[in-house]
Amino acid sequence: MSVQQVIFISFALLTVFSAIMVVSLRNLFHAALWLVLALLGIASLFALLGASFFAAVQILVYIGAIAILLIFAVMLTRNIMSDEVTQTNRAWGLAVLLVSVIFFIIIGQISSWSGFSQPLSEFTYTGQETILALGKGFVSPSGFALPFETASVLLLAALLGGVYIAMDKGKE
């Protein structure tokens, strides 16, 4: 077994385990912390794929911002739903069944594709090439300048909308 395989398997197991903890734990604060671990595992998988930019952005955006926001939200709304109450609805057995059926369908479908077991070699791009390509793709008019601008407008709209919705509009 090569180093990449060992690293991949350990991070994959870590990620899957923490993802399961996220959806099954009663204590939401702990669930949020496991989510941080799952996101960290996914970031290291990105690094393993040679997408170091996305690994860093993943940690920066998801752990530095979204997970912190989640933890704040959990703390703000905590004493409403105590940890003793069951956190899942009645349909969990059905959901497990459904999810496993979908899993086998997906795997069955894509495993017949020819590129399925294509080994991924290590990247030769370790310098700035990938980031430069991404940056040029984002700003060149023949590339993805329009989606990029749209995304920035989306972020602005989300920011304003979030502030407006969460604003305390006086006491009714």
Binding site: L70, A73, T77, Q87, A91, S121, G137
Partner: protein, 106 residues
């Protein structure tokens, strides 16, 4: 060597764990966490295929990276608006249980 299938299977597993969480969880914050898991699974898939395409063609594939970046942007926007909604509902109904958010019901 790690092959493409490993990433695809892992992404499917994480995505479906997220789906399970969305179906089963009562608390809306927990539902948002599961949605984050699903978005991340999608990103694993996109970046795995980006690697595959780059390796196949020998040129850096830009569109894969742009897609992944836009998924992250969408996730950030979704988290911001989602939490604002949860806080707003929490103020009105004093509850974060998704099943009790029925103000629009006649």
């Amino acid at each position: 060597m790690v092959s493409l299938s490993w990433y695809l299977i892992l992404a499917a597993v994480i995505f479906l764990i997220g789906v399970y969480g969305v179906i089963v969880r009562k608390n809306s914050i927990a539902i948002l966490m599961s949605v984050e898991l699903m978005l991340n699974a999608v990103n694993i898939n996109i970046l795995a295929f980006w690697h595959y395409n780059t390796q196949l063609n020998g040129v850096i594939d830009v569109s894969g990276m742009v897609f992944a970046a836009i998924v992250i942007i969408a996730a950030a926007a979704e988290a911001a608006v989602g939490f604002a909604l949860i806080i707003s509902v929490f103020r009105r109904k004093n509850s974060v249980v998704a099943a009790e958010m029925n103000i629009l019901k006649g």
